[in-house]
Structures are given as C-alpha cells and as structure tokens.
C-alpha cells in the first residue's frame, strides 16, 4: 500500500461557489493533511510529488476561465514548470443553459497535462442549471478520488 498523499485543494472562482465547494471538500478529508488554496495565491513552483491536487474551477462568460484562475493559468504559461509525476484530479463548474458548458476548468486541465502532470480519476462536473451549488457533488467526487488514490 502506498502512503496516502497530502491533499491540496486548489480553487478558481468568480462567484465564490468553487471556494464554497472547496471548503466543503476539505472538511470531509479526515485521514490525511489537507489544505485549501485560492489559485490566485498559488505559486506554480510549489507543485510537489508529495501532494495530490484536487482542482475545482468554474467557467466564466463564453467558456473562459474565472478571474480567480487566470493568475495560475498565466503563471503556468510563463514559468513553464516541469510537472512530470504530479497527480491531480479535476472538477469543473458550469451552467448548461449557456453554450461552452463547463469549459473553464478545461483550460487549466490542458495546461497541466501539457506540462507533464497526470490527471487521475473521473473528470467531475457540476451543472448550475440544476439550481444547486456544486458542494454535494464535489464532496462525493472527492471521496471517490481519495478512496482510490
């Protein structure tokens, strides 16, 4: 058995819904250290093999990144860190009543993959058109990811 990695939950938000879900996910992680970090405050040089990254990111406008995720995306682009061996799981927020549903998180996903990181588990998604917040679904998703990783 592998030793459980520590969990870092990175959120990229516009309305606060992704942060809200990130905090709810963190509250459910009881078996290992967990930290919740706003993507806007995250240093791309600090990606570590000892962590499993749970990433939750919303969609803004026409399938764009939320403003809270832009600094991270830009930093990944400019710093170009080698993320080989870094493991992450992705959960996207969106609203299917608009086109480009849930596309925001995919910008981050593509960037991380291109830099060598490996996505684990199912790509989670929540549709705001259901009138619910993503928390419950995100918690369920996180439990499944952590159960297998």
């Amino acid at each position: 058995m592998m030793v459980n990695k520590s969990v870092v939950i990175l959120f990229g938000t516009e309305s606060g819904n992704a942060e809200f879900a990130a905090e709810d996910m963190a509250a459910e992680v009881l078996d290992r250290p967990v930290e919740v970090i706003d993507m806007s405050d995250f240093d791309v040089n600090s990606f570590s093999h000892e962590n499993l990254y749970l990433i939750i990111c919303s969609t803004h406008g026409e399938g764009d990144l939320p403003s809270g995720a832009m600094p991270l995306h830009e930093a990944l682009e400019s710093v170009n860190p080698d993320l080989t061996g870094i493991q992450y799981a992705m959960f996207g927020l969106g609203d299917s009543s608009y086109e480009n549903y849930s596309k925001g998180s995919e910008h981050i996903d593509r960037k991380l993959s291109a830099l060598g990181a490996t996505r684990v588990g199912e790509y989670g998604r929540h549709d705001a058109d259901t009138g619910t917040l993503p928390s419950a679904l995100a918690v369920k998703w996180a439990k499944a990811i952590l159960g297998a990783n």
Binding site: F20, G61, S67, S97, T130, T132, L133, S135
Partner: protein, 370 residues
Amino acid sequence: MAQDSIPSVAIVGAGPSGCYLAQFLRKEFNESRITIFDTLPVPYGLVRFGVAPDHVGTKAVAVQFDRLFERDCVEFIGNTEIGKDKTLNELMNDYDIVVLATGLGGDRKINIPGEQLRGVFGAGRVTRLINSHPFETLDELEVGSHLAIIGHGNVAIDLLRLSLLEPEQLAQHGVDKDLADVIAPNTLSQIHVIGRSAIQDAKFDPAMIRELSRIPNVRFTSDAENFSVDNAEAKKRIEVINSLVASSTVNATRTVNFYFGWQPLEICGSTKVEKVRFKSNTDEILELRADAIYSAIGFEQAKDAAIQIETLISKDSDLEHGFIFEGLYCVGWLRRGPQGTIPVNRTDAKKISERIIQDFREKNLVKVRE
C-alpha cells in the same frame, strides 16, 4: 482589554454585495457581532428579486449566503430600513463599523416626453414583480401585441426572454400563474428591442443572446449593417446577433426586432402609450408601435431611498476604497455605480473588506461605550 479589540459590524442591505462583504469580514473578525439589516423581511436582494427566475444557476449563490446565517453566526434583521426605522446615527452608535450596501434600486429615467404615460414600466420594477417582490404591484401592466424594450443590456435581454417563454415555463420557475399570463401573453406578436449603441458597443453578454436561439417560434431580425471590426468582443457581439437572425424561423408567429444606434425621442399616446419614436445619429427617425414599453437603460439611486449617499460624502471620503468617514463605508453598486454582475460585486466586497481590516488594524475603530 482583549474584548475591546473585537469590532462589531453592521451591514445595511442583504443583497449580494452585503452578503459577500459579510463572508470576507467574518473570515477576519471571527468573534465579531456581524448584523445585516434589510428593508425587506427576507435577505439576498437582487439575487432574489433581480435575477431572472429561469436563471436558477445564478440564483443558487443564495446557498452560499445561507451559510452566513445558518453556520457563521451572522445575524439578519429584516423589515428594518436604516434612515427610517432606525437612523444611521443610532446604528453607528450601536456598531463600531457600518457598511452601506443598499445598491441602486431605482430605474434610470430616459428623460423624454411621454415617459409618464400609462404603459411605460421601468425594467427593475418589472423584474421585481416577476420575482414576487413584496412591495411591487403593477396592476395596470398589459403587454398587448406590441412590446418595446428600450436598452440592450442583460436586463433588457432577460425581459425579452421571459416575455417569450410559455406562461407554464414561467410558472415552473415560481412565477405567479396569473402574472405569467400577463408577462408572456399569447397576444404578443412583435417585440422591438432598441438600443442607442451601435451593435459593436451593445451592452449585452453574447451568452445571453445565444440563449435566445433555443426559444421556438420566433423570427429574429436586426437592422445592424454588416461590417468588420478588429475588436474581438465587438466581433463576438456582431456574430452572435447575425447567427441568431440567420438560424431563426422565418414563418414564426412572433417576431423580435433588434434596432441598433437609435436614441429615444418621445413616447406618444393619448391616455396610454401607443408608439415610441427614435432618432439615429444621422437624424433619421424610427417610429414603432408599442402597447407597452419596458425601459431597461440602467439603474440609479431610488429617489425615495432613506439614505442618500451624496449627503454623507466629503472631501475626506475615499470612495475608491469604500471609505466615507471614520467607521462608515460603502460597497457594491452604491459605491461604484450600476455596472457589473454578481461576481464583480464579490471582487468589490473583497477589496472593501481589505480596507476595513486595514483601518481596524491601524485605528482600532472600536468605540468606547458606557
């Protein structure tokens, strides 16, 4: 004493700006008494009464705010209008920090002749009515067959979309059944949507226009001329209107006409509105039949708002950071004007919370009380 360094906070207005501010302040002031006052018996302001009822994803942000009151020990006091039921001075005596988050609840006037005619309605009033606002009644609302919506912002597009839904769809989203028949009557055959900006400068979000293409039995037209622009945002607006027009049903029984670049001149009618006239920047005249008009050209401070912010501002105020005078702040639309969606007000609340926290650290702000 340690207890003296815990400031109490009153927020006036339980809309998105006030609630976001409470979230940010609660993170810093764990033990503070934080109270949000509102004129209405229920919180969330624009989330509840301004967001269109079919935009359930946008309304869901209320669940975030629920937690303030359910878990984070923020207190809600409704049915209390500060400046009327309780003066601002009394409130400032009771709390160390007071933040005005009352928004801009008044419909901006077009200021043209005929605006007072029966059949002309501010978009904010209509939106509140649709959302069952307790103080709003529009007994005389009758849309007829021709509706004119003045404005091209997202509020105008919301009202356009809601007018085109089936009354049953509106009712499914919680709109009163009788009202749904008034808002989206089956008599409605023509909707004109007129804005003063050219298409490339129109205020709508393209996603709002794309959403319209799902509505059946509507022919969309536009008087915008085809031309090319460099600006990506402008290009998107042109493309989204063109594609809506191109993909719409030609032989539909309802028509929606977009007019760009027309400035309202006058509303005409004997006892109620009958038509509305516009002028282009080349002095061409456009005259449209209208049985009812929604004016959706923006918001301003309501004339009857109990607190008028300009009476509080002095040269020492720093509105850029929400500072009015020591102990008094403002946030959201009231601070910076009626632009920006709900998330933009989160960013605003964060910025103002930082100023408040900084002032607290530097000047304490906790009042000495008997």
